[in-house]
Symmetry: C2
Subunit: 425 residues, 2 copies
């Protein structure tokens, strides 16, 4: 990695602490990613992105800022990036996936908080994440109690805007969210000084739809009876989608897809054809949280899809591009974003339909229901998901685990038993 | 207690399991309540209410139902009882305060759920609470993630209506809540067949304001430098207010207040004058959760007020009685209910003002910040409360504890040290 010390210093990063993080990541990534067999060539770009995770992209953001562009940090797939881009700002996803940040996080949020929130808190207050430090504004939302309260803490440190996501999906709730998009647009204009016109939203929508389509194409290759890419690699790509330059990301992902589709034609896959196929469903996995996928794929199964925010929820629905007025844009964005079946809504029965549909589309053999500890909404939905899957004769196992590696062996044992069971079905 | 077996049977109560509960409560209550010294005579009524907790009041509800009245169960101070009463229905608070219900609760909600929610879940699905069984409809709200998800489970067992409480307190959120009251009114009319007229809401408002004023009068006596009633007894009265017949409750509470005010004139108190005075702030305490108050008042301090839903939040704000149209009623109810500073709102800085104001009004010497485990919102607010209190030089200690008695000794030790510290200030 090039020397980014000066850059980090200019971002007020705690260099000493940050060095500890930088020292661990390459080895961690190497063990989990580089030792995989039969990896596609196209993964080299994503290896490079990870190797430069706090370097090149941070430099790019710094260069943009020098040109007067603003950078906005987000934590949720409900934040309409179309508005961010239309305001000529860059958007970076800031959810944090390592317990490296927990000790700092616990200074400002309760210990019994979900690892993702605690890590994000620690990354901000400990000044050990240059993405946080690059942001001119953070954008939160009222998806869950823990995040809602986190923004109150963050407001003491940095400019914040909170989008009020409704709790239900009735007509009045759609209208409410539409109004929230309008408010967000005004806040973005205030931040950037750029007028968010209908035309600018159209352009942003087209770009982000292209990103979604590239990810859809990628995920489609996983439907093959011999997936040409591991679940771990696919997860990584979706994670990177949250913060990489969108144009380059699309290009590199399309290139990878060309290779993957050629592999399918040649019958080349990453695992053997009889490997049990797993649909992962549940809470998001932020970089570098690759734990569950790694355990699954080193225990005799392959992850073929994720019904998560770092999976299909991020890209499965496109925004209608036909809008020409602001109101039509707000309406189309509302319709697209409110389609997402998050456990933060009540009721959220659409998620069960999604899981069953994905299970079938990806020819999965079983579902691993994943929750981070203290994620009340996803943990609470397990019972109804389990009941619905039982009726469809779909095997499911729940794994609740944080970012620590202490329980990896125990999870492996449970999963191996599960995979054996579904293989014998 | 009279024999209510037939009554319980008619309510489909699990008699055997319910007997276990009935066997424990009198002894538990006896130890905690009957051994207090210098209790006011007027507490006899409330002793009687507890001794008949699953008897006489359940019989009354059954009698009402025979006459065609409906019974509605609620879980939150944001449910406008004015609408329930105006629809000629009875309202009973159903929050549950014993771990007796946890094993049944854990069958339908995650173990890592707050004890209050888990107990309510267990009381319903285990069929061991005749209040639940007496209800023709339950009314939930979207206050926290845990409760929001609980209603989805409850819907499988019983008719439910969920009031969508907004996440913020902007103008549009007031309008949203006003609309929720209108929707709730329609749902109540549907349930009862009674037209909720402006006049009927006026009558209900007057009755409930009288209840609030009686509780305000009760709490005012605790401001005395020698409180004529223990915190434990005051808590019990507020708890009973949630399910007792409102007219009778007002009468009995007013009678008690006559006695308490006479005691103050005579200089009679429950503890000695130099006893450290504690403001409890935090999560609600449902019957029979008297644990924290009991530990505090057997460790050398007295609770003088509760900044909780089973404390001042329940009654400190009256509803404006001047409305004559439905819209005016909706507006006045909205204004009153939205005043409540619950941790479910973001931001919720008004709660800090409440705590500081109550600390001064009740001449408290310290604050015990109480949270039930897994109550994300109240736990998260502790840091900002602590900071604000430090600026005011107000001592505070946080106690996070569930319904189990295992940690009572440890809490006692911590609190004794805290009381010693604040006594020496």
């Amino acid at each position: 990695m090039a020397d980014y010390k000066e850059l980090w210093k200019s971002l007020d990063i705690d260099l000493e602490k940050h060095d500890q993080l930088c020292a661990v990541l390459p080895e961690f990534y190497g063990e989990i990613y580089m030792e995989q067999k039969n990896r596609p060539e196209g993964m080299n770009y994503f290896n490079f992105v990870v190797s430069e995770i706090h370097g090149l992209r941070i430099q790019e953001l710094a260069d943009m800022k020098k040109e007067g562009k603003k950078v906005v940090g987000t934590f949720c797939v409900f934040v309409p990036d179309e508005i961010v881009l239309a305001a000529n700002a860059a958007s970076v996803g800031l959810c944090a996936g390592s317990d490296f940040w927990h000790p700092d996080g616990e200074k400002v949020v309760p210990r019994n908080t979900c690892p993702l929130i605690k890590a994000a808190a620690g990354a901000l207050v400990g000044k050990t994440c240059p993405y946080f430090s690059s942001c001119d504004m953070l954008v939160g939302e009222t998806t869950c109690d823990g995040k809602m309260k986190l923004w109150e803490t963050f407001k003491q440190y940095t400019p914040m805007h909170v989008i009020d996501l409704p709790n239900m999906k009735r007509d009045q709730d759609y209208a409410h969210f539409k109004d929230e998009i309008r408010i967000f647009k005004e806040r973005m204009e205030e931040l950037t000084g750029v007028e968010v016109t209908a035309e600018r939203i159209s352009d942003a929508t087209k770009l982000l739809n292209r990103k979604r389509k590239a990810l859809q194409r990628l995920y489609n290759t996983r439907k093959s009876d011999n997936p040409p890419i591991s679940g771990k690699d696919a997860l990584l790509i979706t994670q990177i989608a949250f913060y990489d330059d969108p144009e380059r990301f699309v290009q590199k992902t399309e290139e990878l897809c060309d290779e993957l589709e050629a592999r399918i034609e040649k019958g080349e896959g990453v695992f053997s054809k009889d490997t049990p196929r797993i649909l992962v469903s549940g809470t998001p996995m932020a970089v570098p949280n690759w734990k569950l996928h790694h355990v699954i794929e080193t225990s005799g199964a392959v992850v073929v899809a994720e019904e998560t925010c770092t999976g299909v929820k991020y890209f499965q629905n496109l925004v209608d591009e036909s809008a020409s007025t602001m109101d039509e844009h707000y309406e189309n964005l509302t319709q697209r974003y409110m389609k997402t079946n998050c456990a933060c809504f009540t009721p959220n029965t659409g998620r069960i339909d999604d899981i069953i549909r994905l299970y079938k589309e990806y020819s999965a053999d079983g579902v691993v229901y994943y929750t981070l500890p203290f994620c009340t909404t996803y943990a609470a939905e397990f019972n109804s998901v389990k009941e619905a899957l039982a009726k469809e004769n779909i095997p499911v196992i729940m794994i609740e685990t944080d970012y620590g590696l202490e329980d990896a062996g125990q999870i492996k044992t449970r999963l191996e038993a599960f995979f054996e069971m579904i293989s014998n079905k």
